[in-house]
């Protein structure tokens, strides 16, 4: 029994949370809620004397605005009460803080079994509200029943029910021990073990494990440690985790037979080695600023004489599908930890995010067990908002793309940029070393069942019975404390190496670090737990958040441990790194596992896969009659993929640290999304970084080669548009694909794999042509859902993120028109490339044939683009560019409309002379999404200089910036659009305003 405390705002104080709940219930669920008041409930699971209770009660409520009572407060008038609490074992951040507050108020530390658990009450008023409505509000708006409990009471039921004082505590008393796994059975038996254990290992892998444990030298080594002949669950789970697609990238490492459309056959020996690392190795010969690529938690490049930059972009798709808030917050604080564990430890500079969802206005059926897209979107945003804001890291880039196929699985990209002093204690900061004898130290949060099987699970499609344990919840404040502690420890030289605990938990972090010393000896019984009842293998694999693993020289342990205590951070030595050649795992005085490092890391059999390319036949939409296109332009601005995402974006903090230069939204009213963002890295220096990205899953419906080439070009040209130089741009690739492996459930695997091959080839071709090395990347290869008996696969998606370096941020260029009278130029060739464009997708939808988006997708002339980008760079350096904006979705027409809107000015434009216009039909000229183009403006008195720079390049005058806020767009004598900037702004903003 716990002590129940209820805290309520005084009736005269507005309840913003209640008001928001009522508004969302009305808006999203059409539930007749007239008002809502809320309360916080604390279940204090520790004995308190009456005097102590009185002190706690006083401390919990703000004396000006709220009151608290032990037991129940008298309820306000209500028709239904919904009480939402946590399920046992789920991270309760508010509860943790309340526990600390009690410790302070009472001047005593609560015991290990004493805790505080929280719940929230929603008192709903609404005379027409039925119980079923209240239930829906609970399930569909307030609680995720995977991790939370949700109970509904009528006033009579509430009055009759005794106050709930049962805390959601896990008190299991199972004996922790390792169990042998018998792999001696037939093939079907091996597959059953893999399937039922969520190991995600195929038959070849299961056999490799069986054969390894049968080796005589392995048997004798194990026998000497008192291990049984059969592998233990600790060993099998550890191998399954280390060999998971998530960690091992088996598809990117596979041997692939690729058969082209004409039957030509080609063998590819690892996509990663051939196309990604291959490209970077080629580019590296002419780029001397690569510090560490593909080997660490993040890519590291040289920035200045004082700092390196480290960058990483991750995906967190599966957890976000199950618990959007928890999955997404874990995504952002997780990638933050990647940076904290890069080199000797990075300092966080900024975050990026990007999501692919189904339409939030989707009102069709949703497969059983999946959430409606609006709910996923709201939860994902809120998770990354809270994770980023509470960590004190500003966001600098964000995007959203919408397609119905993301109904099955949303894509959640989270990225972080960090800085690392070039040298620490006189040594290069990117170098990682571990010496035998160093202590294995885990610091940060405690271990629970959170996220067990996260790594293997994300390598599977979403099924109805997908385990709830795959969900973790982030605690940004615990992580922030750990982060500050780690920077102190780093600067004092207290550890030798650092890495984060992400997928696979300790098995991954210790497994990886042990390669540097040649072995490790780990005692799981020493690990601090959130609650009892964890088996050894669960402790090893848990993905509980906010943890880092350090290699600490024994002579520094006392100092490190004392510093951790002073900073309220838990740090525990769990064993030692060794040179034994094996990972040895103990639980107290018993050895529960031993795996040779060679087998652990290199024993996984390679896949051989089949890829076959047949270009899809995609019909084109019917073209509307010739004439004005004002209506089309406004519809394009309203479309989900083009429209402003500002409403949600403003909930992310873009200002903390005070380093921003070009923010995510720019212009006279700060409502135009910047092509790229720019920030300083140190307060008193003018060097800066430029961030951009490219993503376009739509072109994949025609050809993933065109898709990937366009995406890389977009990410690069955005940096160029903001004033960057091709010589100083690095890239990051994130592939999110539907399962491309041929099987019974994936008969079209060879096609999807061919799409992957083609995208990789494009990535190689374009990054080598531009000299833009990839420094880090990630792939997520099983983005399919089979719930509700229906398979939904995402369109093949590549996010290419870029980071550029700028010597002087004051030279940065922004996309908004700046001054009436400036000359507008169209730079770069427009071609008839409307395939899968925003325009064709709009037409196809209007015509009721959503698949009829065919046509030529954008191509790429990299040699010409390189010359253009150099010229744009020179123009920016010379201060000739008043503005520069690169067209993407919606082509030149949308680009002109937005640049004018950004400046709150107008434009009088004629595209007849635009490069490529001759022979092109009007719609193609207006809306084609051809790559490598810019709309730039220049002061009329400097137009000559600009034109001289672009002599011999496709660049032509296309109009004038006007003081009247109106877009007048012609092609020769044909009027194509004539519309006020106010209408443009309204169209651009209205779709997701309030969403």
């Amino acid at each position: 029994m716990a002590i129940r405390l209820e805290v309520s705002l005084n009736p005269s104080i507005p309840d913003a949370r209640g008001r928001d709940t009522a508004a969302r219930a009305r808006r999203f669920l059409r539930a007749p809620v007239s008002s809502c008041r809320t309360r916080d409930v604390y279940l204090v699971d520790m004995p308190l004397s009456p005097a102590e209770l009185a002190r706690v009660r006083r401390a919990f409520a703000d004396p000006v605005t709220a009151r608290a009572a032990a037991g129940r407060l008298p309820p306000p008038k209500f028709d239904w009460l919904i009480e939402v609490g946590f399920r046992p074992g789920v991270t309760d951040n508010l509860g943790h803080t309340a526990r600390e507050a009690i410790a302070d108020v009472l001047d005593r530390e609560p015991g290990p079994r004493e805790g505080v658990y929280t719940a929230t009450q929603y008192f709903l008023l609404g005379p027409k509200l039925a119980r079923a409505d209240a239930g829906r509000i609970g399930r569909d708006l307030l609680a995720n029943e995977l991790i939370q409990t949700c109970r509904v009471f009528s006033p009579a039921e509430w009055a009759a029910a005794p106050p709930d004082t049962e805390p959601p505590v896990i008190r299991e008393t199972v004996e922790p021990r390792a169990r042998p796994v018998d792999l001696g059975g037939p093939d079907e038996e091996l597959l059953r073990i893999s399937r039922e254990g969520v190991l995600s290992l195929d038959l070849g892998e299961m056999k490799a494990i069986r054969d390894y444990f049968a080796r005589p030298e392995v048997r004798s080594a194990r026998e000497a440690l008192g291990l049984p002949a059969a592998p233990t669950d600790v060993e099998v789970e550890c191998l399954a985790q280390t060999w998971s697609e998530h960690c091992k990238h088996k598809i990117f490492a596979a041997r692939i037979r690729y058969v082209d459309v004409d039957g030509r056959e080609e063998w590819i020996d690892s996509l990663f080695k051939t196309f990604i690392r291959g490209a970077t190795e080629r580019v590296a010969r002419e780029r001397d600023w690569l510090v560490s690529v593909f080997t660490d938690n993040a890519g590291i490049i040289r920035f200045s004489d004082r700092y390196h930059l480290a960058v990483k972009v991750e995906t967190h798709n599966t957890p976000s599908a199950l618990d959007p808030y928890g999955g997404a917050i874990t995504g952002i604080v997780g990638v933050n930890r990647d940076l904290m564990g890069a080199g000797m430890g990075g300092e966080l500079v900024c975050n990026t995010w990007g999501y692919c969802f189904a339409s939030p206005f989707h009102d069709g059926p949703v497969p059983e067990g999946l959430m409606p897209p609006r709910r996923i979107r709201d939860g994902v945003h809120q998770g990354v908002i809270d994770g980023g804001n509470q960590s004190g890291v500003p966001w600098m880039r964000g995007f959203e793309r919408f397609d119905e196929r993301f109904l099955g699985k949303p894509l959640v990209f989270c990225g972080t940029v960090g800085r690392i002093p070039c040298a620490l204690q006189g040594r290069p900061s990117e170098r990682k070393e571990v010496a035998p004898g160093d202590l294995i130290v885990m610091c940060g949060g405690r271990i629970g069942k959170d996220g067990i099987h996260g790594a293997t699970f994300s390598s599977e499609e979403l099924r109805k019975e997908s385990p709830a344990q795959a969900v973790q919840i982030g605690d940004p404040i615990t992580q922030r404390r750990m982060y500050e502690f780690l920077i102190e420890a780093r600067d004092a030289g207290l550890y030798r190496a650092i890495t984060d605990n992400g997928a696979g938990g300790l098995s991954s972090s210790v497994g990886e670090m042990s390669r540097l010393s040649g072995g490790a000896d780990l005692d799981l019984a020493l690990a601090p737990l959130k609650y009892e009842g964890l088996q050894p293998w669960e402790i090893l694999l848990s993905e509980a958040q906010e943890r880092m693993t350090l290699a600490v020289p024994p002579e520094h342990w006392d100092t490190l441990s004392a510093l951790a205590r002073r900073r309220d951070v838990e740090a525990t030595a769990l064993g030692r790194f060794t040179g034994s050649g094996a990972l040895v795992v103990r639980y107290g005085d018993r050895v529960v596992g031993r795996i040779g490092l060679d087998f652990l890391h290199d024993g996984c059999p390679r896949l051989t896969l089949e890829a076959r390319w047949t270009p899809p036949a995609v019909p084109a939409p019917a073209r509307p009659r010739a004439g004005a296109r004002t209506g089309v332009l406004l519809d394009l601005l309203r479309s989900l993929n083009v429209c402003s995402k500002e409403f949600k974006s403003r909930r992310y903090d873009a200002e903390v640290k005070g380093l921003s230069v070009v923010k995510p939204f720019v212009g006279a009213r700060a409502d135009l999304p910047a092509d790229a963002t720019v920030m300083r890295v140190e307060h008193d220096r003018d060097e800066g970084l430029i961030l951009a990205d490219g993503i376009n899953p739509f072109y994949s419906d025609l050809d993933t080669y065109a898709m990937a080439a366009s995406v890389v070009d977009e990410a690069v040209r955005r940096v160029i548009s903001a004033g960057g130089s091709l010589d100083r741009i690095a890239g990051l690739d994130n592939f999110c694909w539907p399962d491309p492996v041929l099987s019974e459930k994936t008969p079209d695997g060879p096609h999807k794999l061919a799409q992957l091959v083609r995208a990789n080839r494009a990535l190689y071709d374009v990054t080598t042509a531009y000299g833009v090395p990839c420094i880090s990347g990630k792939d997520s290869m099983k983005n399919d859902s089979v719930r509700g008996g229906k398979k939904i696969s995402i369109p093949p998606t590549l996010l290419f993120s870029t980071i550029g370096v700028l010597d002087d941020v004051r030279r940065a260029v922004t996309p908004d028109f700046k001054q009436a009278g400036d000359v507008i130029y169209a730079v770069g060739l427009t071609r008839d490339e409307l395939g899968a464009s925003e325009y064709h997708r709009l037409l196809a939808a209007r015509q009721g044939r959503p698949g009829a988006i065919g046509g030529a997708p954008p191509g790429l002339d990299a040699a010409l683009a390189t010359r253009l980008y150099r010229a744009i760079g020179e123009a920016a350096q010379a201060g000739l560019l008043r503005s520069s904006h690169t067209p993407t979705l919606g082509g030149l027409a949308v680009a002109l409309a937005l640049a004018a809107m950004g400046g709150n000015l107008g434009a009088d434009a004629d595209l007849a002379a635009a490069p490529g216009a001759a022979g092109l039909d009007d719609d193609a000229l207006l809306f084609s999404e051809s790559n490598s183009r810019f709309v730039v403006t220049c002061a009329p008195e400097r137009a000559g200089e600009l034109e001289a720079l672009f002599r011999d390049l496709p660049c032509a005058r296309a109009g004038t910036v006007t003081a009247e806020a109106r877009l007048r767009l012609r092609i020769g004598s044909r009027r194509k659009a004539d519309v006020s900037i106010d209408r443009i702004r309204r169209a651009f903003k209205e779709t997701l305003d309030g969403f």
């Binding site: 949370r17 803080t97 507050a101 403003r650 903090d653 200002e655 903390v656 939204f665 307060h683």
Partner: protein, 257 residues
Amino acid sequence: MVSDPSILILTGHGLNCEAESKYAWERAGARTKLLHFNDLLAEPRSLHDHAGLMFIGGFSYGDHMGSGHVMALRARHRLREDLEQFIGAGKLVLGVCNGFQILVKLGLLPGLDGDYFTPRAALLPNEGGVFQNFWVRVRFEPGSPCVFTRGLEFMDLPIRHGEGRFFAPPDVLARIEAGGCAACRYVDPATGEPATKFPHNPNGSVNAIAGLCDPTGRVFGLMPHPEANLHRENHPRWTGGDGLMLFQSAVAWLRKA
């Protein structure tokens, strides 16, 4: 003595504006010391080595139980005497955003009648219900005793908070206004007059109060972030940098004191 005044900046537990706050004070001519809150609790007397104390922005304790609530609980419990002594010695206290919330939760603001530990006002969740980040225009009131805002008039500053709606019971509000303690207000950029509506009044604050000082003018807190407006390029239209003046004003006052 003419040495540069020293400012103590508290860090830890989710506070996160230490780097830009340090830079602001140093550019304004002060020395700074970043100190983890736990280290101050361990040695509260070290507070008195400094001429000014800053509670920075961030998310102390994750804003759990209300923004600033738990940090204020701990400070009240462990630092009360030293804070009283510090203010009594004529020194300066500044709180920005979460720091302002902590000062109000403690009672340091409005600090009427020399009583610095009875909370009398509150910063409620924004009227719009959510955290928001954008730039607003504020006006510093000329009649205020606030030593941080002397000679300042209008300024654009970013807000980024979820709980910034200033509230005080009518009698307290009247005394705040009578004493010139409402040192900083949200204004409509078109008129320069106090803003009543979103977005110019971003959170629904009563009397458009964005910042508050105590009757001595030496304790000051505000929701917008002057330390995030130190470069011309910090402003969305590259017309910024004036946030620095607030720190310069405080340093000038300390040099004379």
